[in-house]
Amino acid sequence: MQQSNAYIITFSVILTVVLGLLLSGTSQVLGPLQREAEALDKKKQILGAVISGEEIDAMSPEEVNAFYTSHIASTVVDINGQEVTEKDGAAVTAENVDIAKNYKMPAEDRLYPVFIFHAEGNPDDVQSYILPLYGAGLWDAIWGYIALDTDMNTVGGITLAHAGETPGLGARITESGVQQRYVGKEIFDESGDLVAVEMQKGEGKDYSADPHKVDGMSGATITGNGVNSMLKNYLGHYQAFIESKKSSQAVAAAF
């Protein structure tokens, strides 16, 4: 009887339904918690561009949320640097923009969130602008956040993350030692052209005199190239926004 086709089919159907219900039930119950965890992780990454990883690790989830709320304001711009408040009839907030999804669209159609790091509770006292980055590494996606000081030129900090770079090689972009190399570098050259910051091939050289170059990661040149083009692309997409902030500050300084 157990070998009959009818029995096998019935058995399979029942098993599938039971397991399916179990899984969808779990997903329903845990869904809100998972979304919370993901949102928290995103906030940690954004904050990682302006404060050190150790400081963030020492904070409890509530503290991270509180710190984020009191220090980060956000806006969304398009490729021309114009503020976007709604798209297709739905309100747009920077936290809800999915960079990975936007990456699949043509650059002109994408939404570009900007996170503004300001003094505690005072959104007018801007300390740096945090811009998201997204691109391709050697094996899979890489992404991150870069913080620009208010001169819109000096890099205040960067966080980098990856989906599947080689552990010990390309995966080192997540190490604070590698990310520290970007601090203080400049993205515009003397004539005002956007050149971004380029990670070099090879490791162990001193690039402290060159504002547009950082030391590379030995054995991870392709990941390094991915980081370079990601930086160049996204800073390029944000260029209109960056220039507008630059000129408004120049005006403010003139007064």
């Binding site: 058995f11 399979s12 179990l22 997903s27 998972q34 552990p167």
Partner: protein, 227 residues
């Protein structure tokens, strides 16, 4: 004396002790003599991949223990109803469900671990130890015995990957469970005394070397020879 024999006659089969000698063997055998990694050489992939640090390794070990024990239990409970022709796919469905549960729970309650272990939690499905125990044991044995057997195999797997992770993290990153041991040692002997970490230990090659050494030591001790 006589009353005892009468009682036995009524019961026909006396209940086996909860942890009889035979059952203890189910747990202890896979720890050394029949270890899934060092003797059967199964589950090597994850043993290499997740063992750069102790913390993710511990989470991985707990996940594997949960999956093996639970799948052994479920399959053993169903063993008389599973049609033989589709048994592998049934086992796979049960294991896959359990693994997805583990991964969902990690994602909700330990997101950092979920990110770090990423694909390797999902890959527990393909861990040969899990399916191997289902095929070899749970399909033909009672639930309680199967649970013990699964627990034993999972422990055998866990202590090996934890040992590998201990040495890889110590020599590769100079720490144990994230505590910077090397820095403390350097602190004792003054600033001129620096313990160097070995980059080889961070790469999967390091796991091969440590695992090889463990197998060597173990086989020298037990005198196990491959046939």
């Amino acid at each position: 004396m006589s009353t005892e024999t009468v009682e036995k006659a009524i019961e026909k089969k006396p209940a086996e002790a909860l942890l009889s000698k035979r059952r203890k063997k189910l747990i202890t055998d896979p720890l050394v003599d029949d270890n899934p990694i060092t003797i059967q050489v199964l589950g090597i992939c994850s043993a290499l991949a997740v063992t750069t640090q102790m913390k993710p390794t511990l989470v991985m070990a707990i996940s594997v223990i949960f999956v093996i024990v639970m799948s052994n239990l479920v399959i053993s409970l169903m063993r008389n109803t599973i049609p033989t022709r589709v048994r592998i796919i049934v086992q796979l469905a049960v294991v896959a469900t359990l693994v997805t549960l583990v991964s969902e729970v990690l994602r909700a309650f330990a997101y950092d671990m979920y990110k770090e272990l990423s694909v390797f939690v999902g890959l527990i499905i393909t861990n040969c130890i899990v399916m191997g125990r289902l095929e070899a044991f749970a399909l033909g044995n009672k639930p309680y015995d199967s649970v013990l057997d699964g627990f034993g195999s999972a422990l055998g797997y866990s202590w090996i990957i934890l040992t590998v992770a201990f040495f890889r993290e110590l020599w590769g990153s100079g720490s144990v469970f994230g505590i910077p041991v090397f820095d403390y040692v350097s602190g004792i002997f003054g600033p001129d005394f620096k313990l160097a970490t070995n980059g080889l230990m961070v790469s999967p090659v390091g796991a091969f070397i440590i695992l090889g050494l463990i197998i060597w030591v173990q086989r020298t001790k037990t005198g196990y020879v491959e046939h």
